[in-house]
């Protein structure tokens, strides 16, 4: 097999650019928004109010029980037919945020539950309210437990953003598709795209280990 190195090098920057301007901001913004949704859903799920807890449960069930691609289609192609037209970028961000919100909610809920009850009580006995105890004492400890699984969620999200190519968002994979269609070098270009995804995820994994190390400083080894 003949590898067209010239094409490889020529297409490298456009693909990486698609990553820097598309994939990475898309993943970052969606992840931050998704975490906010997830925290809200986790707290609602833990609520003693049955209605509130049910709403969160239903949300998580729907998000986890339907394919991300279908969610994306409902938002981008489905909503316009009932009068809501949303541009590709916001559509992608909405879909990915809602998706992360559903998955990360369970991670955060489990992490909160993993903090011993005595920590809540210690917070109460120094005069703290439930909210302050949660914010100052429980969430920082839950974060340590939640980082490894949330990192997995983030890495999955980075790869899942390639689905945004089907709703015309110019990100890494969309760029690769354009170049492949033009050059007809499918094997070379798609492999190159895969390599770039892999490198992004390698960098993220390194970041994850460092973050875990930082959060572990107060734990006995």
């Amino acid at each position: 097999m003949n590898i067209d190195w010239n094409l490889f090098l020529e297409s490298f920057w456009p693909i990486v650019r698609g990553g820097l301007l598309g994939t990475i901001p898309l993943a970052l913004i969606s992840f931050v928004l998704g975490l906010a949704i997830a925290l809200l859903m986790a707290l609602m799920r833990l609520s003693t109010n049955r209605v509130v807890s049910f709403i969160a449960r239903a949300y998580i069930s729907v998000i986890r029980g339907t394919p991300l691609l279908v969610q994306l289609f409902v938002i981008f192609y489905g909503l316009p037919s009932i009068g809501f037209t949303i541009d590709p970028w916001p559509s992608a961000i909405i879909a990915f945020s809602l998706n992360v919100g559903g998955y990360a909610a369970e991670v955060i809920r489990a992490a909160i539950l993993s903090v011993p009850k005595g920590q809540w009580e210690a917070g109460y006995t120094i005069g703290m309210s439930r909210t302050t105890t949660l914010r100052r004492l429980i969430l920082p400890q839950a974060a340590r437990v939640a980082v490894p699984p949330l990192s997995n969620t983030f890495i999955s999200l980075v790869k899942d953003t390639s689905l945004a190519s089907v709703i015309l968002v110019t990100e890494l994979f969309r760029k690769a598709q354009e170049i492949a269609a033009f050059s007809q070098e499918f094997m070379l270009i798609y492999t190159e795209a895969a390599l770039v995804y892999w490198v992004i995820c390698l960098v993220l994994s390194t970041g994850q280990s460092r973050l875990e190390g930082r959060l572990d400083r107060y734990v006995a080894h």
Partner: protein, 260 residues
């Protein structure tokens, strides 16, 4: 300095009336009355499951009683029923501080951060002031050099002394101790008891749940013996611990003093 016993006309700091509590169908407390005078040390003793820890937790609203009331000297009585919320109980916690059996230090905070968390975050005191006070208190319990350590780097006895300092830093009018030495290795118990004894000698008001009968006899002004959710006997430690009147108290004291 030795502990001066408060006299009969010393005003009451805390009063609990008719505390009742059930967990499911099991009634843990069957109408408990308790009064603590200013400067008094009250020791709650009794077998496991007697309800003594539950009484202590009702005094600061960690446990919401099904019925009864708790009041501090000047404040209004907090009356409990099955609908009482945690928020209502929060009033009680501004007057007392608690030392737990398992310390419950905050593992993600240093010793110093553990101590100033309440004063700074809740009482809104100046951070520099809180740090100065915390450092002095740590020095008193012999842990000045541990102020930047994390809890996991300390022994159980050291952690419990930090737990005591964390409670003192709140400047409460009442200290609650929930079996403060039960989780400690035997050789570390003395360090913690010594600190508690000093606090008693200084005139702190405290309620102490303990299995250390010898210690209770030494520091307590009043001993309350509980069994199966009721107060069986109460009075001066020399009476309750040396010459108990009730047969259940006699059996309990005998068992603890002669384990074999």
């Amino acid at each position: 300095m030795s502990h001066t016993r408060p006299s009969a006309d010393t005003p009451e700091l805390l009063r609990a009336d008719g505390l009742q509590k059930s967990f499911g169908t099991h009634q843990v407390l069957k109408s408990i009355d308790l009064a603590v005078r200013k400067g008094e040390v009250l020791a709650l003793i009794g077998p496991s499951g007697s309800g003594k820890t539950t009484v202590l937790r009702c005094l600061n609203g960690l446990e919401i009683p099904d019925a009864g009331s708790v009041s501090f000297e000047s404040g209004p009585a907090v009356t409990f029923d099955s609908a009482t919320t945690q928020k209502k109980a929060q009033v009680l916690r501004t007057r007392s501080a608690m030392v737990f059996q398992n310390y419950n230090l905050f593992p993600h905070k240093t010793v110093l951060e553990n101590i100033i968390e309440g004063p700074v975050q809740v009482q809104k005191r100046k951070k520099s002031e809180a740090i100065t006070e915390a450092t002095e208190l740590l020095d008193r319990v012999g842990l000045a050099e541990k102020r930047d350590a994390y809890p996991h780097q300390l022994s159980g006895g050291q952690q419990q002394r930090v737990g005591i300092v964390r409670a003192l830093a709140l400047k409460p009018s009442l200290l609650l101790f929930d079996e403060p030495t039960s989780a400690l290795d035997p050789e570390l118990v003395g360090d913690v008891l010594r600190v508690i004894k000093e606090l008693a000698d200084e005139g702190w008001t405290m309620v102490l749940v303990t299995h250390e009968l010898a210690f209770a006899r030494e520091v307590a002004d009043e001993v309350v013996f509980m069994d199966q959710g009721v107060v069986v006997e109460r009075g001066h430690p020399d009476i309750v611990l040396r010459a108990p009147q009730n047969i259940r108290t006699q059996q309990f004291v005998h068992r603890l003093l002669n384990p074999f």
